[in-house]
Every structure is written in structure tokens, then in C-alpha cells.
Amino acid sequence: MSDPSGEMRELAKKLLENGEVDRIIGWEKGNLWYQSPPLFITRAEETDRLVFDDFAINSLVTYLLDERDSGKKTGIFVKGCDSRGLVRILQDKQIARESVYVIGLPCSGKKDPRQALSSGASESSQVPPAAKCEECLYPNPVIYDVIIGEAVEAKAKGDRFAAVKEIEAKTADEKYAYWTSQYSKCLRCLACRNVCPACNCRECAFDISKPRILAKENNLSHNMVYHLTRAFHAAGRCVECGECERVCPMGIPIMQLNKKIIKEINDLFGPYEAGVKLDETPPPLGTYQTSDPEEFM
């Protein structure tokens, strides 16, 4: 893949100069070679800082929520996975389509800074692709105003539900032991919620103090309720961007639960891909069919 940074800078500069957008969200090169953190710019002379390299893994779309009431127009760079998150936010009517100028970037897979650090690599080529990119089905943006670079072929992938099936094969007590071992690690830092494009409520259920859903204390029972509730709130709305799992400081396999829900929704209510088409019917749990499976007679 050729480096699109030059084109990105040129476009961003033009957009800011002619006042088409008020700010640009992209990535810049961090202090370390394995970091490309988000960059927010409002002035044309800053556009030279923009990059799009192997470590531009962060999804930027949730930053749009911070200024959803500002009336400003934002230019934003999106990869394939990010674009589905953007569709999620637009479908949930959190921002107006006119308030965002979408610059699409086809992506052949990014690398995780944490893996770069743990593998002891000294340059990008030695770092394996990020876990969430291994199962990528949408390397090209599904929504954009302009696209930079050539479309990328989706790689032939294995079964995206392989990990789910592995857990399904366990006995009930093995499953419970597995999940409790994972959820007992949770710090409840809420990073997974904060980064999730489906978690775009203005007031999150977990932040409401009356009635309080979660105890302040960190215990296993409440950790489980937190994760199950969050997964259920995102049920049928999760766009499989894998950001929750990427940001989790404790390495909890959050996507294994989300993927299970996607798998079951596909089985129960017919195949569904969230965040792919903007003008779509409500997500599966926001609608019904009279012919749905009946198990409760």
C-alpha cells in the first residue's frame, strides 16, 4: 500500500483553508515508532502532522460525539471498520450527516502498539497484524465523501465465530469458570464503553446514580452485570470494530461475547450486518417479525 499521507495533508489543508470544515480529526506520529495517536487540528498550517501508517489503529469516530451539539463541521478520516462505526452513530441520529466530511481510507490491516511493545520488535515490519484486523470483513470504507487510495481486497478469512464455537462446546461450569476468570480482571475503567461507537447515549445507564445499576465496589457479580448489560445494549448494533477489546487494559476478550450475540441474532432472526448501510431498517432488537421463533408457548 502506498503512503497516502501526502494526499491526506493536501486535502485536509484545502478543506480547512476554504472553510469547508472547522476541524480535522486524523492521526499523527507519536513520540515512539509504534504510536500513532489521534490528532485534532483546526488550522491549515498544522496539517503536515497528519500521517496514516501501520499504527493508525484507533477509530476516530467516537470523538465526533464530543462535539455533537457544537454545530461545527468536522473532517474525519475513516478506515473500513471506523466507517461502520460512523454509520452506527449516524443511524442512531447522534450527529447529522451534513456535520461531517468523511475521508475514506482503504486499509489492509493495522498493528497494535501493545503487541509491538510485548513482541520486543524494533520496527513495524516485525510486528504481527492486530487481532481485530485478522477477521476484517470490510477493509474499504462503506461511507465516505471522498476516498484516498485504491480499494483493498478483503482477505479470505477463517471462521469469524471460531472462538465462540470453542466456548460453546464447554460445559456450563467450564463456561462460567472461563468467564468469571475473565471478568474478575475487570477494573471497570469503562474504556470499552467510552470507545464503543454503539455506546453513544448522552447519559449512560451506568452513570446514572438513581437507580444505580452497578455498585461502586468492584466485585465479580457487578463486573459480570456490567459486561452483559453493555453487550446487550449493543446487541444487534455492534459493528465488530473490535475497539473495546483493543483498549481493554486487562485483555478481557470482550468481542467473544459480542460475536456470540451476532451469531445468535443471525441464527434467530436472519443474517444481519450492523453499520453497513446507512438507510437501513432498525437493528434486530428494535423490530420484530410475527414469524419469529416461538419457544415460550
Binding site: 445507564a205 432488537l285 420484530y288 419469529d292
Partner: protein, 148 residues
């Protein structure tokens, strides 16, 4: 409200929480009572406006606070007082039962039934059946909040 008891001291009896929709299942429970139908006393009923009102959070909270099983009862599909509430509930609980199974809690601990206001006998039979099912599964420790 906490429904915990000291399991060790007395013979264990299943504790079951039932969410009954105001328009059908609660009336069904009422009819079962009017008819003096015998049923086990293990079920505590919370009246809700519609089975669609039942949030999975309510169910998880019940398990946290020490129930052994939950029954959600609503109008038959097509009979909802609010036209469509139970259709949404049906989708929700089909999925939620599978999530329960996936994290290792027996999905039999979360049961759903459609019981109309005229089905007093069905309500009593359901209560008996659910009580026996939960009795067979034994006391639930999973998801329980031990700290309160």
C-alpha cells in the same frame, strides 16, 4: 428488597421471581387464585405493565440478589395490550437465554411463558412446572452478589 436467606440453616426451597404483565399473566395469576388452584408458594410476582417492560437488567439484579430462577410471563403474541410489546420481548429473551447459556448459567433458570388472563390453570401449571425445574437445578450461586 433482598430475598436472601441463610440456605444452610433451613431446608432449601427454590426462590423464583415472576414478572407478570398486568393485562394477561397477572390476571391469569388472579384467576388461579380465585379458582383456589393449588400451586407451590415459591413464586414471588412483580407486576409489570407489559412483558416488553422487562429489562434484562431486572433479571440480572434478581439473580444478584439471590433468586434461583426467573419467570417472565406475558400475553400471547398478537394479544398484547400495547399491540407489539411482547413481540419485542420475545426477541429479547430468545437472545438473553442464549447469552445466559453462553456464560455458563443454565438457561432453564430464565423461563418465559405466554399466559392469558383466562388461563388460570395454565398459570398454576406453569408455576408448578417452573418450580420443579428450578428445584431440579438446585440453588443458584452464579451471578450472586455476595457482598451486600
Amino acid at each position: 428488597m433482598s430475598v436472601k436467606s441463610s440456605d444452610a440453616q433451613e431446608a432449601w426451597e427454590p426462590k423464583i421471581l415472576a414478572f407478570c404483565c398486568n393485562w394477561c399473566s397477572y390476571a391469569g395469576a388472579d384467576l388461579a387464585g380465585l379458582n383456589r388452584t393449588q400451586q407451590p408458594p415459591n413464586v414471588r410476582i412483580i407486576r409489570v405493565p407489559c412483558s416488553g417492560r422487562v429489562d434484562p437488567q431486572f433479571i440480572m439484579r434478581a439473580f444478584q440478589d439471590g433468586v434461583d430462577g426467573v419467570l417472565v410471563a406475558g400475553c400471547h403474541p398478537g394479544d398484547c395490550h400495547y399491540s407489539t410489546g411482547n413481540f419485542f420481548a420475545r426477541r429479547r429473551f430468545l437472545l438473553f437465554q442464549r447469552i445466559f447459556d453462553y456464560i455458563g448459567i443454565d438457561p432453564g433458570r430464565l423461563q418465559n411463558r405466554w399466559i392469558s388472563g383466562a388461563e388460570g390453570d395454565k398459570f398454576a401449571a406453569t408455576v408448578s412446572k417452573v418450580t420443579e425445574d428450578i428445584r431440579a437445578l438446585g440453588p443458584n450461586r452464579k451471578l450472586r452478589d455476595e457482598h451486600e
